[in-house]
Subunit: 200 residues, 4 copies
């Protein structure tokens, strides 16, 4: 299968999942004034922004992978489908975090669900790239050797970092969620500040 | 009509339907702890994964069809529209299965609805391909004769297999649903393990 | 603006609106068995199918327009936006018809809302085409004169037919809705049976 | 990253956000007749139309930007992601305005939320364009100097105008919302009446 169709389909799922995040932001049945309701759901806005940024970063990374790929075999297709299954799942734990982060009894569950989703996503990301890059199986013949190993190195820490942030939820759910926000922000800002020329 | 526009539109519907599946996963009004609620809806996760995989496989097959087509006439367009109508319908029975598979009185209905949807989808798939391939009506002139009859043979069992899995719901709804999961998994894994070079 | 971007954006809205129709099909809070609930909402399935077919036909027609257009000016862009606004609106009256067609007191309102939506859509369709075709304003220089006037003639009856079907809702809502179903089916079947070569 | 992928992804988000606006139009639980309910929610139709037009205009402007861009660096990508985050957010305040504009106690909150969303969106628009156009950083080498400064001038008033309309909500929420409607309509009509050749 030509990679451009896989890329277009994946782009579609990324774009839809990222836009469906807005369903996370919901005032529910309001008691009292609308002003109170709109302020009360501030975790929704944060959760929306963090997940939006995170899916956005994943989309950028997905393109980095696709740019180095020459062809897609069926294993690649199904690993990619697994990845998309995780990405499309993100609105669910995002909503849990938005709704329950202020409930002392339930915030650990919400943060864990969020973290587990992100960690599995990161694992699929690594699997997709490593499957394609292993002995240059699916890489373009002109893919730069140094760039390829640079990608491999830069993707490696994703799953362990997300896994650690997830485990932190057992001790402090709020620290865990804050860490996910910080990771997304760090990536966005650091690449803005230092990585300007990478994608030139 | 150029086939690439039909393909892009179909890709859009596949991508949206597959991403809307997440609306299937919903904790509803929780009683007790969030932890209980998140665990209690485990059939939702399974149903989400099975339908995601199934639509994903259909998308791969749809591309196989489109790759061999040179042009689309109106009959083809409307058969394709019928197929998309089924694909976009999948979130509904998926939700039924997710919600009612544990209700002994209602799980047969849920499984039957799921099975009937899948069977009709398979029928449209066969109709679409057979209409196009009949006397090479819409095929590309360079479409390989052996490959074409190989596709015809491999698509043939789809509707009967799905129909059988549907009928099994009358005796055992859970066996029926498990069979749909097994079919999806088998297809994904078998083509991963044995079919690696098919789409090279 | 290049027409291919307008077409891609429009295709996106068509694909999303057509897929969102599934939100029309909803068993709501069930009383009694799931079997009863699934059968009870049969108008939802019909409404889903009719609106799916209708939007599908509109998408085919939209392509016919775009195929003859060389460039898009701002008036064209905003007429097109108006058309898309109507298409994206269709899930709302579809849901009304699905829910209220069996309520003797409310079915007239549901059918009227559906009919008015469809009629306004048809008006925008005519406006879009006539604006583009008027003195060949935006047409491709190689657009066939006979084909162009054929399209003008074939689009002309759309709004009056839909308008008539809408007015019939005042006398008999069910006849009105049946007429919309018949129009969609007639178009799909007639072009399937007689028009096979048109889009070759 | 090639700009055409950024453009396709952005188009996807615009198309989905604009189509999801229909979820704003909802009769809720009806008391009394359906006819009353359908008429009672007239603010929903207006809010739907205004937001649809506004997102549509943003989409047109986004293309104007992309047409002058040669390449996208990471800062551009994340500014664009910020813009999309705002666009995808629009359905939420649209729903608030639709539901609460007739509630004297809550309409100020609804109008403010709407206005703030629009103002932040306009700020991101300016940031995106100015980042790209600053010393022609990302512009195509053949981008016309006069046209570029024309775009800069025409985008400049966006944020202040939206900001003013937002502040007006503190005095009169209805005037504020009417102003947003007027801005959208003015833009659509003025460019239709006077700007016909701009995009030729």
């Amino acid at each position: 299968m030509e990679t451009n169709r896989v890329e277009a389909f994946s782009d579609g799922v990324f774009a839809i999942a990222i836009t469906l995040l807005i369903l996370t932001v919901d005032i529910g049945d309001i008691r009292g004034s609308l002003g109170d309701a709109v302020l009360r759901i501030w975790p929704s806005y944060l959760a929306y922004a963090v997940s939006f940024l995170t899916i956005g970063i994943m989309w950028v990374n997905h393109h980095t992978i696709m740019r180095h790929i020459e062809r897609a075999d069926r294993t690649f297709l199904f690993l990619n489908l697994g990845l998309l299954m995780c990405v499309a799942f993100v609105p669910f734990p995002t909503r849990l975090v938005a709704e329950f982060i202020r409930s002392s009894g339930d915030r650990a569950t919400a943060a864990l669900t969020y973290g587990i989703t992100m960690t599995i996503t990161a694992v699929f990301f690594n699997a997709l790239w490593n499957y394609a890059a292993w002995r240059r199986r699916l890489l373009r013949t002109d893919a730069d050797r140094r760039e390829v190993s640079g990608i491999t190195r830069s993707y490696m820490p994703g799953a362990p970092i997300y896994g650690t942030a997830t485990l932190i939820a057992l001790a402090s759910p709020i620290a865990s969620v804050a860490l996910f926000a910080a990771i997304a922000l760090f990536f966005a800002l650091s690449s803005t500040l230092f990585g300007r020329d990478e994608t030139a």
